[in-house]
């Protein structure tokens, strides 16, 4: 069984919702990423989303754009990101790691080569923002072959017809984008999200995580009541941005914030 499947099944049996923090690999420096991943896992993160930096992150707001720029200042490549996951796996074999990013770095790395190397590094899933399921049939099969799940987005604008296509292609979980906009932009409307999740659940048994607009414990708690996973990105990346100069303080603050989110998610379940 895949690490993601096992994780969501275990949480479901305890009627718990997954906390899924997102950080950009290589931000603020490639040497700090593995430590940050461990701190997230120790403070209640159930799944980690690790951003692969890209020069042109079209779906991201300013907070994650800047994180990508900081990571690219140190030339953080997809090869480096895989090495970080491998290092993380030396002491953590349980927490699923999902790589999230844009297509071009993967395209240049090579699809089959990526599937082989990502699997060897201990990556559990890939979420490529600008690769829709209809354009990725072969790649999804290559990934599946190596035990890697393909996570796809569903948006507020996604038609019922497309929802069926997406849930058929996806595995691991479905990522519901809670707002029309870029990451870290508007605040979500819990009522709207609830209605959309009900629609999606009519088409799939896959767990559904919700992201793009969850900034604080209060929203995390509200979403935990209705979703299977809560993704928090920009709010966390903001803490990293504010503590670039002090490695210990950065880890400390990331840990405290993650714990507060974890408590809120548990409370909301």
């Amino acid at each position: 069984m895949s690490r993601l499947k096992a994780c969501f099944e275990a949480l479901a049996s305890q009627q718990k919702t997954a906390l899924i923090p997102f950080v950009t690999a290589g931000d603020p420096h490639p040497d700090q990423t593995v430590d940050i991943m461990h701190v997230l896992a120790k403070n209640g993160a159930d799944v980690l989303e690790l951003g692969v930096p890209f020069s042109d992150p079209m779906a991201d707001g300013p907070v994650i754009q800047l994180a990508d720029e900081r990571a690219l200042l140190h030339n953080t490549s997809l090869t480096d990101v895989l090495a970080m996951v491998k290092q993380f796996r030396e002491t953590n074999q349980d927490t699923p790691v999902v790589l999230m990013g844009y297509l071009n770095p993967v395209e240049i790395y090579g699809y089959q080569r990526f599937a082989v190397d990502a699997s060897a590094a201990g990556v559990d899933a890939l979420l490529t923002v600008d690769l829709p399921p209809e354009a990725s049939t072969e790649f999804v099969a290559d990934l599946k072959d190596k035990g890697i799940d393909s996570v796809f987005l569903i948006a507020p604008t996604t038609t019922d017809e497309r929802i069926k296509k997406i849930v058929a292609a996806g595995s691991g979980y479905i990522y519901y984008v809670s707002v029309k906009g870029v990451t870290g932009s508007a605040s979500l409307d819990v009522g709207d999200v609830k209605g959309r999740l009900e629609t999606i659940r009519n088409s799939t048994d896959l767990p559904i995580a919700v992201g793009f607009g969850i900034k604080d414990s209060e929203t995390a708690k509200a979403i935990a009541k209705i979703a299977d996973g809560v993704v928090v990105g920009s709010a966390l990346v903001n803490i990293i941005a504010g503590n670039q100069q002090d490695k210990a303080a950065l880890l400390d603050k990331v840990g405290v914030f993650t714990r507060s989110l974890s408590d809120a998610v548990t409370e909301g379940c």
């Binding site: 071009n104 604008t157 984008v177 508007a186």
Partner: protein, 406 residues
């Protein structure tokens, strides 16, 4: 060239927006529904005689088409080779070929019922052409433009503001056209319900490369007819500058099945291809995925997009329309590059010899045409797409000459 390759480049794109291995629709899920709607709308309207008649009427009476095909006799004699004809897109309303496309997309926007228009712009020509059609339709308009380009193209920025558009400075990344396009995409994702995105070139997700091409093909259709009327035959070569490549596709496409007609797309070599500071993905890049399509890109070994350089803001872009990538691979069109200095020389020469001030973008095509003409017999014919006028570039050229005209 094999039979299958010919068929492949003639009948593109396929239903998924693919030009061979290029093109496609690589965007985040939020935009997929809007693109599917646009595709359906365009499929319907592009076959609707009323829509076609409305587009043609606007091109005739608002844009001022057909644009002349002008025999540049003095320049031809000075160069001493093939006869050079200029397709005068600089004489269109707003001063460039860009308006052909914005007229077409504005008509589409009207049919969607959306009330707000956004656009990205590099040199500002597309921004001006978009602000113009938005003013005419009474629609709200916001244009995204890199900070660096706002500095280089102050005149066009003010023109857009006069036309009632809001110009948003983009300070991320390299502060040029690619970043303006990123920001326009971000705006579109956020406001997709009420906003129509008028993309300015033959790039972006399907169906943009197809519909922008179709709207720009008026250039090549007219040029073909005018060349036959004036010379009694087809041209031997076509030359056009390529940033995203919309003026080049507009000229080339109606000639694709005329095998005797050679085609030359001219990219910006900036400080020289060997310097690495250029904007020539077809000449010196490799395929990848950016801004919704697969195409040749300027990128590093990790798939990161690298900064470009050209003296002309409109060519300063790391990608290119997917159809050009396919025409290159099929060998149907040739892609070459002209550096800043050569373009500036052509800018000055055409101005002095023919009394026509060309845009710096178009000056790249002129510079290559003058090289090419020298290698061809005097009875041969070259058509150069003079895609825009150079008024907007006077400040840039004056600054290079060390003259301040502020």
């Amino acid at each position: 060239m094999s039979e299958t390759q010919q068929k492949e480049y003639l009948d593109t794109p396929d239903e998924f927006g693919n030009f061979g291995p290029y093109g496609g629709r690589f965007v985040s899920e939020t935009l997929m529904a809007a693109l599917e709607d646009l595709e359906a709308l365009y499929d319907r309207l592009s076959k609707d005689p009323e829509f076609i008649a409305e587009f043609d009427r606007d091109l005739a009476h608002y844009v001022g088409r057909p644009s002349p095909l002008y025999f540049a006799e003095r320049w031809t004699n000075k160069i001493g080779g093939a006869k050079i004809y200029l397709k005068r897109e600089d004489l269109n309303h707003t001063g460039a070929h860009k308006v052909n496309n914005t007229i077409g997309q504005a008509l589409l926007a009207k049919h969607t019922g959306k009330t707000r228009i956004i656009a990205e712009t590099g040199a500002g020509q597309h921004g001006v052409a978009t602000a113009t059609v938005a003013a005419r339709l009474g629609m709200e308009c916001e244009v995204f433009m890199g900070e660096e380009d706002i500095r280089r193209q102050a005149l066009n920025v003010y023109r857009m503001r006069l036309l009632g558009a809001k110009v948003n400075a983009v300070s991320s990344g390299t502060k040029t056209l690619k970043d303006a396009m990123n920001e326009a995409m971000r705006d579109w994702v956020t406001n997709v319900d009420n906003t129509f995105y008028i993309i300015g070139t033959v790039a972006g997700p399907h169906p943009y490369p197809k519909l922008v091409r179709d709207f720009q093909c008026v250039i090549g259709r007219e040029a073909k007819r005018q060349c036959q009327e004036q010379t009694g035959r087809l041209p031997d070569a076509l030359v056009a500058c390529v940033g995203g490549g919309s003026n080049a596709i507009g000229l080339f496409h109606p000639f694709l099945s005329d095998e005797s007609v050679e085609m030359y797309g001219v990219e910006a070599a900036g400080h020289g291809i060997e310097s690495g500071q250029h904007a020539a993905p077809l000449c010196a890049g490799k395929p990848g995925v950016l801004h919704g399509n697969r195409t040749y890109l300027m990128e590093d070994e990790n798939g990161q997009i690298i900064p470009t350089h050209s003296v002309s803001a409109g060519l300063d872009y790391p990608g290119v329309g997917p159809e050009h990538s396919w025409l290159k691979d099929c060998g149907r069109a040739n892609y070459v590059a002209i550096n800043d200095e050569e373009a500036l020389d052509a800018f000055r020469e055409l101005t002095l010899v023919e009394g026509i001030i060309p845009a710096l973008e178009s000056s790249h095509a002129l510079a290559y045409a003058s090289k090419l003409a020298k290698t061809m017999d005097k009875d041969k014919i070259i058509i150069v797409n003079l895609s825009g006028r150079g008024d907007k570039d006077i400040h840039t050229v004056a600054a290079i000459d060390g003259i301040s005209i502020d």
